[in-house]
Symmetry: C2
Subunit: 247 residues, 2 copies
């Protein structure tokens, strides 16, 4: 019997494609690679906690001693399982649907976790720029929430996160330098994806971060030329293989 | 025909086991895993450049526009190839001796490179402490060279790198916190080695860094208890499997 569609909780925006979050993109890619049917439920930022509590999704962190909730979350009606966190969701999908393509070839989980940490480290100043540009593509309900929470986290106005001019130029230069290290790792690939010609969750991670940049960052045209076009080419390869589709 | 022993250039010390360098340990583990016969040539620090130039080994970096040379270096009489840099040596061994156990399972090179960067990042203040304690286990010829070059690099006396007291305590605390991240990655392994129950170059990297700490650091007894003993246990597993042997 064909499985019932997984319910996939994602965040909307004013982008034509709607999805923008690097973390929910990872899950969308993973579901597409596995070929598992799913249905997207769109949740604005201030509604995430209520949705998570209503369906009984696990918290993904704590703040001031209280649990915090983030997307992606999936609700799998075939098993009754509700999973939060993109990495844990990918592990769940491989374990629950082993007959489908594999997200983690044997033994690669610790290494893909290391790659993800390395990419997040490399983001550095680009991350602050990304928060600033993301604000402008959110819907009003999420904008208000995003501004309030991110300004509290970083102790300054969103407009000061990476202001256009010398600060943003420095963020871009530092970002480019940091990604030279990641480029060195990926240059060791013997194919068009991270692990060669076989797609894996490593590609979900890499493409998740860069599609966020591509769809929101006004400097993307320049960034697409960095490192011989590695980041733009990888996104194209993921898209051409059909893994960026929407359900 | 059995291959002729590879000549493996390594650095001596006053430790009973002689070898101490994390980078040459990686190559020693790799040669042992591959089961390739080798013969160690011991080279004191100030002699590395002359040996490298004499045998025509590639430089591994530049300083003030001039090439710099480091160990490990291998000279393979079976192919006439001379290779510098532990990662490049491991790649060479897999490519040249494909019938032997594999250091890089298919597709894992970029990921193992990411893991190595992640471990080096995590070292942080521990790295400065390691330079300080390494000084004391070197032979006099290398000590003089090591002091002169490292003090020039870091702009202070070796005795100030991580002095016993509050600075070293802080280095240890930061090191422990940073390795909590690496522990999170490795907790995803489904076996006793990084990739599960199969040894790989990822284990050479991990064990290379931690055997350096174990054999030189006066705080090892405490560090061996960190993260449920992960670092000490991993070293034991590598040793029990026979990969820490000397030729």
């Amino acid at each position: 019997m064909a499985p019932s569609p997984i319910i996939f909780y994602d965040m909307p925006s004013n982008l034509e494609i709607n999805v923008w979050s690097p973390n929910t993109w990872k899950t969308r890619y993973a579901l597409n690679i596995k070929g598992i049917p799913y249905k997207t439920e769109w949740v604005e930022f201030p509604d995430i906690e209520a949705v998570a509590l209503k369906i009984g999704a696990p918290a993904t962190g704590t703040k001031d001693g209280k649990p915090t909730y983030t997307l992606p979350i999936i609700n799998d009606p075939n098993t009754g399982k509700i999973i939060s966190d993109s990495f844990l969701i990918a592990e769940y999908l491989d374990a629950t649907y082993p007959g489908k393509p594999t997200l983690f070839p044997p033994g690669t989980k610790p290494l893909i976790a290391a790659l993800e940490s390395g990419i997040i480290n490399a983001l550095g100043g680009l991350f602050m720029m990304q928060l600033a540009v993301t604000y402008s593509i959110l819907n009003p309900r999420s904008q208000e929430y995003f501004r309030r929470t991110r300004e509290a986290s970083f102790g300054k106005k969103i407009e000061e996160f990476s202001p256009v001019g010398p600060v943003r130029d420095a963020d871009l230069a530092k970002g480019k330098a940091a990604f030279t290290t990641v480029d060195g790792w990926l240059a060791k690939s013997e194919g068009k994806f991270v692990l060669g010609d076989t797609i894996s969750y490593a590609d979900c991670v890499l493409a998740g971060w860069f599609i966020w940049i591509k769809t929101t960052n006004p400097n993307w045209k320049d960034m697409a030329t960095w490192h011989n076009g590695r980041w733009a080419t990888h996104l194209e390869n993921v898209e051409k293989a059909g893994y960026a589709s929407m359900q």
